[in-house]
Subunit: 485 residues, 4 copies
């Protein structure tokens, strides 16, 4: 696609695949609203006060139908919003169209190139002359990364006159990032520093993004406050676990139509994501095997009747491989060569480097047969035997299906809204330093409470005597901080 | 679509949606072959002898990728094949295109009107001057029905000169059937009787179709031998059960992206299909409730922890309704009016009359909003509250997803191939009368055995002493006929 | 125990372990009555007419609390009853005491020797001068066997003057049977033939016993009508499946307190009993592996995510071995030698010859350490490594726990009562020949229906239109005979 | 029992039920050792150094077979040990006998009165003239409580001359505690203060005990350091969860033989214990309903398909009630009156005050019928309808069965050993203040690692590059402190 920003009749910028899908998007957004009680409750509770009046929010987060409901919750509370996706395959084009037409500046489409991806990110951060956004909603940390790298480059440039050099790295994606920053520097050598100045904070919702933030906090390089939404219980123990339990089989079925029952499936990693995936596969009738580095998680798998072995033990016997580790180099090309014909290899954990895509792409004589978008059969020349790679090694639930369902995303996104409200409310105080924070437990409990009614649940109320007996307030929070759920 | 038969360069007739999808269909057929060991084993075992040499086979069975592998198994054994789908929404257009281009005469596309549907069925049965097919592969019994109704009409016409009168029935679909027969009569008043004469037999694979056959047998009106493939253990206890366990959530997710976890789901009927659906929903985290008429099936549900209630008890509390009964008038429009907003109503059992589509369509003031094909929201004027109907009340796994996965269909279809072989082999003998037969148990066991290797299973062998002890042959069959599995 | 018959004050014979446990037995019988709605409904429905007035019923069936409720249902309907257990370890002594004191002649205690066992059986069949019982309630077929062997011996003796020779067989138990018959012959050479003459029929409730009956029917040696209660759906698909799902872990836990989660468990056989055992172990968190001879059952296991391998493949890796085959020679001593230290070996399928107890007992240098009754550790001299054998290789759920729970036994036993009523009602007609019969489906459905209310279930009623549509009576039966549930 | 201390031939004190059961206890201890790899690994790793040389350890913890292996692990590491149970019903008498005979001073038997219970506790703390123990292994905190109350009373007495007054409290059990302290004061007014002086610290393993410790820490009244073993992941997420998943059905089955399948079961509380119980009941085929005060736990239940309602909603429909809350007044006598006849009420969470035993016992006209020890039927006079109370409202898995199985207790107890080692090692340093500590994560991971081999698991090893990528040491710990597993 030609990278030219378009404008709505009202003058709002956007770049999406097909504006004619906006009506379809709107219909699905309306369905999703019914499934997202937490977000709708925020609109009801906070909408009248317009707390985000005057706030500019940039989001870098899969541009799906669910995200559309998040975006319109932010605008319903008074915010102006610009948005990009955080994954080249995760945009639902009808969602992007509806939002672009009706609510916010969107730069996202399914199947971006990496160059396009970072262009979109940069567009979403660019609020024109007045600097960048006040707040960032981040997923995976790419918006945060761009600002940090931008500031670093600007400071280096100011210090030494040295421009960032894409050739300084092997990482193809990072080359693009440096290229974009380099280009920006020539236009405005203070661009990212102005962003940093204006920025009140970021709320981040993935394990991977949070890990980056804690590392920056540890290194003292974090440039603004961050709220770790991922570690709200109502996020990590719901979205990561139950979301993946839903969307892993969804992705497998849409991409390959394979019968899961009877198959041998290997889940690499038994954290929250791995637990959800293993549960889904087991329930669908697969023989599941887990690989783990952490003895505690390994023992949990065993208690559920799931053997824990190494990838080497099972690589030639399994039919389905799922990476959920948040680490790199999990399934290597030498593993893939040993797999059964048409073994399925996919990633639902993290970046595409969980799977050795580079090793596969550069394997001498390998042949790629695209069955359909995001479903490729790769054939090794020695054996003429193929494996199926989903979503080019990227998140398969977003690449091959539609990501997590609305209800569980409502939990995650209600945390996002609450975190954004909190950052914005405290913008003038010193409450939040350049550190990573989690939301207090009573807000976590509130997010959960907002989702019970939709499912017909009724809570029991503590009597004052009972509350005193266990030493908690009648209205909560009910658990100590270290409680694990 | 204009109902005009097209021809391949080789002169084979077809009518499909889009011939350009043939390559995509071929790629998916190749994937499916790896998942269908029973069919591929038939090709290996029987292919060299070409047992179907000279046989004309007509199939009326969902024109999917899996069916494509079945068709090419029949042609690999020497048959000539004509095919139509047995459901207006179940065709996968890329599968139809690949088969039409490469292997057989196909008349099928996704989204046929009823008029088109019966045109396709009639085309598939029409082998030109020499009469009809030698064999029929049937699913639901529509091809069988057309011949029986045709013969009845011809006999009546011969007797009384009376043509069939579409106006004699309220049933819209049956009006079309009578219309087609009426039209045919004017061209050739012996057409269906010639078909009947030539026909060696039919193999039928659904509960519904089999029920029709047993009724005709009981009435003495069955015109040719039939093999009941549905009641092979390797069909009804696999396809119906495990197939639906897979494809029900697949259909739900593709059509609505709804989170199943936490929802209240009602499964009407707890036969094999209902058991599969209930298991899938329960495992996905729904609260499942079953409705049943049969106390034995009801007690089975209870033993699995599933409450058995009436639809009236739960109609206003549930989020998802699935009909699996094989009966009619299960979810009526008066039920639908009481449902929660955006409750999902779908059918995976039988014809669209499990759900009162007629009542819904004719409800005064009702509004239909098509979210996307096969996903409609119907809004009642009194409440402005809507329900979601999948696949217009027809089989939702085929209408909204891709039907059952290859592996389990390989079990069903291997039974079909074996049944067809058996009918054809005995065509000149009196082995099969105008009755309904099931396959002998050793063939049922053989079908199962052909599917074990793919899943890495190893059977234990009986010693002669053990075989004598339990009084079975060492090589099986291992169970008495009445054994229920 | 000295084998001397005792008498109650009312003159009824008995031989039990400890009459002082009668009160305890009575309390548990009262609890069980609440859990056995089918039997209690029979008392209500049939009690007033006293249909068994004048009938002598002998039962050979585990003398448990549940059986006590069965016995008192028979006496409540007018029968006189004599009873023995059908397994040396299965008697609950408090149940035996309560029944002996209050209701029927009982000859049973936990931990009989084989000699005592057959003495009890013979006592239960001996109704004094007037011949034997009118009806037999059998489980495993030992009462039936004794009569058949007795008649055979008497005929041989009459023919040739030859007495049965215990030395003619290697089978230790059969030697005892022959000894008892031999002894009887010297007292009354027509004893078993008189029994046969009087006997109206037997109802048999196990797979093993039924298999014997069908073999006798096939050989033409069956001496009286038999009703196969095992193959009522409400028996084999409930007792065998859900009963074992409950009582297998119960037996394991009471005998060994072992944690099932995390263990590797091998289930030999995947019939109804095996399915129940595998489900229980899987749900408790074990890694389950199945061995099978039947490819259909094997494929069912695979569809549930359970690998199917041979015993040899896993013998050295598994922690728990359960035999459920109904065959002999499943786990041999050479297998046991290869097992891990303290591997548990138990049988829930059939006789103790599923496990090679003879091979184990006669293994040179093997050492038996009784941990507690029915839990033995056997240590091999070569390795000093031991295995744990439960219930000496006999049914572990009855030997180590209390057998199946009341509710599911109510289903089985209601079938028994209905079968006994049917045999007795037709005693003077020719309805039942010397063949094996199953109960008609409407009675099977009735048994199920009697158990729904207790679990709060509500059935849906067919409308006449619906009944006509699927061609069944409104009030059932609802399924064809071949339906598998 | 007469409360007289007995002595072994070697002069070690004890008081147990029946010393003749020592051999049986020893056999079961030997079985348990094979199932407790963590404890056995501690013996191997630390035994040679005898780290506990000179240490006196008092334990107040269910005197079961598993605890016996713990005690002998402490003695194998050089400790002298005195022990009592922490629950009047939880002692296994054969375990107590074996330990009393072979290894440590034991004061415990199944079925103590409360008076006897506190006598035993006091005996276990009394090491003679030299003061009390060096270390305490606590479960529920009763040993810790006695010392704290003792010290408080001694200080009050010193200050004011006032003796503790049992009449000052309504709580029957606390009256006994005050009585014992009062008696002790007259003998030695410094007894508990001397204990406190000597005491190095306590390790506590229950949620309830830990809660007490944190409250004392908050109040500033904690007298010595405490290690919170309960919140080791390898304790709370294993013992509490998987232990109860095993031992709840075990207790139900041993106490009542009830069929769980088909029943409606209410689990009050969905913490770790409640999660384990709900999972067990669901898997056994019950319809499970949860009650909760915490919206997050409630939402977790919903995601597993379990409805969340209040006790009032379901009290008259359920068959089984299980309390797991760690709070008081959960099932009150007014609830019990509304229950179905023979509904089962039991507690697996905490003290017997989760169930309103006092209300039940004092209900006018109520009748208690003891079916067998720890299984009572209580009949209300108005309805003549009864409910079944297990273990008199105390922990039913310990009262009615044998508690958690060895393997999971090995995880908990290995934490105990490691905590004791840590306290003892640091006794002379200032590392531990009068506060509550948890074990560091690397020790938690170590406990898990020690249990993998037994289950055949193989861990994957991080490469240095991978470790660097996710910023953890190659050898762990692998997760941040806030990680929830």
């Amino acid at each position: 696609m030609a990278l030219v920003v378009e404008k709505t009749t009202s003058g709002r910028e956007y770049k999406v695949k097909d504006m004619s899908q906006a009506d379809f998007g709107r219909l699905e957004i309306e369905l999703a609203e019914v499934e997202m009680p937490g977000l709708m409750a925020c609109r009801t509770e906070f909408g009248p006060q317009q707390p985000f009046k005057g706030a500019r929010i940039t989001g870098s987060l899969h541009m799906t139908i669910q995200t559309a409901v998040l975006i319109e919750s932010l605008t319903a509370l008074g915010a102006e919003v610009r948005w990009c996706s955080c994954n080249i395959f995760s945009t639902q084009d009808h969602a992007a169209a509806a939002i672009a037409r009706d609510s916010a500046a969107v730069f996202a489409w399914k199947g971006e190139t990496l160059q396009e991806y970072w262009w979109c990110t940069e567009r979403a951060l660019d609020w024109g002359p007045g600097g960048g956004p006040d707040l960032i909603v981040d997923d995976g940390g790419d918006a945060t990364l761009l600002i940090h790298e931008g500031v670093k480059a600007e400071e280096e440039y100011e210090r030494s006159g040295k421009l960032p050099d894409p050739a300084s790295t092997d990482n193809a994606e990072f080359q693009i990032v440096l290229g974009i920053i380099k280009e920006g520097l020539s236009v405005d050598p203070c661009k990212y520093r102005k962003m940093k100045e204006r920025l009140v904070g970021v709320s981040e919702e993935t394990t991977t993004g949070v890990k980056r933030l804690y590392q920056m906090q540890a290194n003292g390089t974090l440039l603004f406050p961050a709220i770790n939404v991922n570690d709200s219980v109502t996020k990590s123990k719901f979205d990561n676990l139950y979301g993946c339990r839903h969307s892993l089989p969804d992705g497998l079925m849409r991409a390959t139509d394979i019968m899961i029952a009877g198959k041998v499936a290997v889940v690499c990693g038994y954290g929250d994501v791995g637990k959800g995936c293993a549960a889904a596969l087991k329930q669908a009738g697969a023989q599941v095997i887990v690989t783990e580095i952490d003895p505690i998680c390994a023992l949990q798998a065993l208690m559920e009747g799931i053997p824990v072995l190494t990838l080497e033990d099972v690589v030639s016997k399994a039919d389905i491989f799922v990476t959920t580790t948040g680490n790199k180099d999990i399934v290597m090309v030498h593993h893939m060569k040993q797999m059964k014909n048409n073994a399925i290899v996919c990633n639902i954990g993290h970046f595409d480097n969980e799977i050795d895509m580079l090793g596969l792409e550069t394997y001498p004589g390998v042949k790629r047969i695209t069955i359909k978008p995001q479903t490729d059969r790769w054939v090794f020349p020695e054996t003429n035997s193929g494996i199926i790679i989903l979503a080019e090694g990227r998140l398969m639930n977003l690449g091959c299906a539609t990501g997590h369902p609305s209800f569980v995303m409502s939990c995650s996104f209600t945390n996002q809204v609450i975190a954004q409200l909190e950052l914005w409310k405290e913008k003038a105080t010193c409450k939040y330093e350049k550190k990573v924070y989690v939301l207090p437990k009573h807000l976590d409990e509130k997010v959960a409470a907002l989702h019970l009614g939709k499912l017909g649940a009724k809570l029991t109320k503590l009597s004052p005597e009972q509350a005193a007996y266990i030493n908690v307030p009648v209205e909560g929070p009910y658990k100590p901080t270290h409680y694990r759920y």
